[in-house]
């Protein structure tokens, strides 16, 4: 049960990034994966409690390691969701900019694109982090 719990935690974390981030409501808040991860930790905890409930010594050290691993992985996931992926507050420029500054940049096709090329049309300008 301890190792099943660890597997559930692992599956919960991996599936968030591999599967559930494709669904915006589940990416914004891990409605599926956070409960899954917590359930995995609970399974490991229950497994350790049962191992220590037995009079013989079997499996207690290894089982405790399994629980620690589950907790560690779950903690890293929670920290990622609620802390590591946070951004600093947006600066005054970004918040207050009223007129869109013109620019001339190269597109992936090698063309020069200017914002002023789009004067007279509505524009969505999207900044993203890139593939760093």
């Amino acid at each position: 049960m301890i190792w099943l719990g660890l597997l559930v935690v692992f599956a919960g974390v991996v599936s968030y990034f591999e599967v559930f981030t494709r669904f915006p409501p589940l990416r914004d808040f891990p409605w599926v994966n956070l409960p899954l991860v917590l359930f995995g930790v609970a399974l490991s905890g229950l497994g350790v409690a049962r191992a220590f409930g037995r009079s013989e010594y079997r499996g207690k050290v290894l089982g405790s390691i399994g629980l620690v691993l589950s907790l560690l992985l779950a903690t890293l996931f929670v920290l990622y969701i609620f802390w590591f992926s946070n951004l600093p507050p947006a600066g005054e420029t970004a918040v207050n900019l009223a007129q869109a500054p013109d620019f001339a940049l190269t597109s992936s096709d090698g063309e020069t694109v200017r914002l002023s090329d789009y004067r007279g049309r509505k524009v969505a300008l999207i900044f993203y982090r890139g593939f760093w």
Binding site: S85, L87, R129, G130, W132
Partner: protein, 87 residues
Amino acid sequence: MSIDPPATTREKLGSAGIDFPLLADPGFEVIDAYGVRHVGGGMEGDIARPATFLIDAEGRIVWRDLTENYRVRPRPGELVDRLAAIP
């Protein structure tokens, strides 16, 4: 737009059915003009923070999303609706 050079964007996205321009700002000129530099946000230095600006036909910024978490972005449908609502 991002700091990725055009070649990187071409390599990663190719012609993935994208018919809008993907721009490169490796020098942070536009990123800084719009105030969206994320200091130390990348693996090796600064990066753009995810941000969306909707601009009307006169070049005015009429809506912006400056997310506080890079996992949380505006939905494409929301952007389409907001663009349509701009007179």
